[in-house]
């Protein structure tokens, strides 16, 4: 029997505004399957976003949902989690939202290790505003603000998260749906700050400006597939062999008490002593 999404969707607010062929919906459905398989209580699950195409997701799903300002989803979520640690708090954010305007919040959320899950919808472009380049746009690629090619180099969000202290870091793509389910599920269950970067495709505002590479959104999906190398294999390859490719899978996981546990522990000890 196929999965019934309607339990978790605000069907009266559909259809969504995503373009035909946009991969954001693939990630949303994966998240809903995870919610179902983990048996999360909808009243106790909070979904927070910033601004962008990806960030419109909270409007469509039936949880406690908060659509904030561009880049600020993580600090909003931090406040919610500190106020009510028993809630499951998931943040959805585009690459611009999470890594450009929200980049400072991102590294500090990693460092604090508060039990939040961040899903980065990385389509390597600013979809909502019409296709300007983002911090994850590859060098040389065309966008509406890189008409001569991107002079910048892209962030490696996973490496950034690990360096900043995230305790769960994973990467998958919109093509690898089963892996996506597994990683988002593990991330939500992980105690501490978890990041799942999903590499995605925005044909409307990125693919069509790079017609030398992509003739359709399918081409973009196949490209995601081609460039993904499972982490176990990737780590055996020489850096040269990994050029233009990326590791996918669970990149890093460690147990470390987070801000809330440490705070409670220290305050408790002080009060006893």
């Amino acid at each position: 029997m196929s999965f019934d999404y309607t339990k978790y969707l605000r069907t009266e607010h559909l259809p969504h505004l995503w373009c035909p062929g946009c991969t954001h919906g693939i990630v949303m459905k994966s998240f809903l399957r995870v919610v179902d398989s983990l048996g999360l209580n909808q009243d106790e699950t909070v979904v927070v976003s910033g601004i962008g195409c990806a960030s419109r997701l909270p409007g469509y799903v039936d949880f406690c949902t908060l659509h904030t300002t561009h880049g600020r989803a993580l600090p909003f979520a931090t406040g919610i989690k500190l106020a009510r640690p028993e809630l499951t708090v998931v943040v959805v954010s585009g690459d611009g939202d999470a890594l450009a305007i929200g980049g400072n919040h991102f590294i500090h959320a990693c460092r604090r290790n508060i039990d939040l899950t961040l899903i980065i919808f990385n389509n390597s472009v600013y979809g909502m505003t019409g296709g300007q380049y983002s911090p994850t746009t590859d060098h040389g690629m065309f966008s509406s603000t890189t008409p001569y090619g991107n002079p910048d180099h892209a962030f490696d969000a996973g490496a950034l998260a690990m360096a900043a202290g995230a305790t769960f870091v994973a990467r998958t793509t919109a093509y690898h749906v089963r892996q996506m389910d597994k990683l988002i599920g593990q991330a939500v269950q992980h105690s501490g700050f978890s990041v799942v970067e999903v590499l995605e495709a925005c044909y409307t505002n990125f693919g069509r400006r790079n017609k030398q590479l992509f003739k359709s959104n399918m081409d973009m999906l196949m490209d995601l597939k081609k460039k993904a190398v499972p982490v176990e294999k990737a780590r055996k390859l020489a850096p040269k062999e990994m050029e233009g490719k990326y590791e996918t899978g669970l990149l890093y996981e460690v147990g470390r008490p987070g801000y809330i546990e440490c705070c409670d522990d220290m305050i408790g000890r002080k009060q006893e002593g």
Binding site: D62, T78, G79, I80, L87, N104
Partner: protein
């Protein structure tokens, strides 16, 4: 019963007032001259079951307190001009999503980094118009340590009752002065809480005007599932493009504050009964003004002081009345003319309004205020 009297610094009084009012969450980023508020709450909030967090900047601080308030905790942040500027976008978010929070701005001098340890009153208009678009503005402006305590409580109460962000705006002098404060017993000053929904989750709408201009507010985690967005939304919380709904929601969030003026507005009127000259001032400038008025009276000039304690909404009505009984109004402020524009709007040319401004990092002295008053009435 003997009153508890303590010698407190302004910022300390603010922090204690917040705890009294039920504040259980603080997020902030250090900045002079407000930092003591964070330092004190870092120690005291955990003792009352609250939480403190130092965020990475003021953008994050305001976001965190809005999140915590939405999850049911009365929340506050404290800052000074540069941080207040950074908070503006999300102050607007709290206005349109109608989430109560308290933002303390201890003003310093100058634009930009300005004068971190010197007083100023340059954020009067930022407190009203800092965030984009039409939005409600509620601001309390204490002038003493004791009032910093009580106005912080009043700010929380107003925020909760009106479902809107409230700003406590004061200056470096009030924040760093030490004065005796009578600490009220628990329950002595009423503490307000947001109105909870009386309907079950199935019938709940986060902006249901059936219940008046301030709709009941459910907290995340209380069994109500709803959507919150900074996009203009309908009663159900979801974005809308309906012109009629947009217009009525926009007008309602302003109206709910305007309608609260009878209980929200608060002014101090000092020796105004027979006054021919009224000095209008807020914060520490008003304290100098009161001394100056006494001095001016000794010199034969019937002077008085009008001090808005609730700065926004501005007391236009009362000033209009006052214009009928005084010959002149002098507006004194540590900026180059912000409150004066509001006073002129109130009196509509019916009485002469002049201003006394100073932006050199020093407070306006009672002497210069006195000579302005005395000089003004001389032929």
């Amino acid at each position: 019963m003997a009153k508890t009297v303590k010698l407190l610094q302004g910022n300390e009084a603010c922090a204690q007032g917040a705890v009294y009012a039920g504040c259980r969450f603080f997020a902030g980023y250090p900045i002079t001259p407000s930092s003591e508020i964070a330092e004190i709450l870092a120690a005291s909030l955990p003792r009352v079951g609250g939480r403190f967090i130092q965020m990475e900047d003021e953008l994050a601080s305001i976001a965190a307190i809005i999140g915590a308030s939405l999850a049911g905790k009365k929340s506050m942040t404290a800052t000074s001009g540069p941080g207040f500027s950074l908070m503006q976008e999300n102050i607007g978010f709290a206005c349109i999503t109608e989430i109560p929070v308290v933002i303390v701005n201890v003003m310093r001098g100058g634009p930009s980094t300005g004068m971190p340890t010197a007083p100023g009153q340059g954020d009067i208009m930022q407190a009203k118009w800092g965030t984009q678009g039409d939005h409600p503005a509620v601001t309390m402006a204490p002038d003493s340590v004791g009032e910093f305590f009580t106005e912080t409580i009043r700010a929380f109460n107003a925020a909760e009752k009106l479902r809107t962000p409230v700003i406590v705006l004061t200056d470096e002098i009030v924040a760093h002065t030490r004065e005796k404060v009578e600490i009220p017993e628990p329950g002595e000053i009423p503490v307000e809480d947001r109105i909870k929904p009386s309907v079950g989750p199935a019938d709940y709408k986060p902006y249901d005007t059936k219940f008046g201009d301030v709709p009941p507010m459910a907290n995340f985690g209380d069994g109500y599932r709803f959507h919150v967005t900074g996009l203009v939304h309908a009663e159900d919380g979801f974005p809308t493009n309906e012109p009629d709904i947009i217009e009525s929601q926009e007008r309602r969030i302003i109206r709910k504050v305007e309608e609260a003026v009878p209980w929200l507005s608060k002014n101090e009127e000092f020796m105004l009964g027979d006054a021919e000259v009224a000095l209008v001032a807020v914060g520490s400038t008003a304290r100098a003004a009161k001394m100056a008025a006494e001095e001016a009276r000794e010199k034969g000039v019937r002077a008085g002081v009008f001090r808005p304690v609730t700065l926004w909404p501005f007391p236009h009505e009362r000033l209009k009345e006052l214009a009928g009984s005084v010959k002149r109004i002098i507006v004194a402020e540590m900026n180059l003319g912000q409150i004066v524009g509001e006073v002129e709007r109130s009196v509509c040319g019916s009485v002469e309004v002049t201003c006394l401004n100073q932006v050199n990092g020093e407070s306006i002295s009672p002497r210069s205020l006195c000579s302005a008053m005395v000089g003004e009435v001389q032929p």
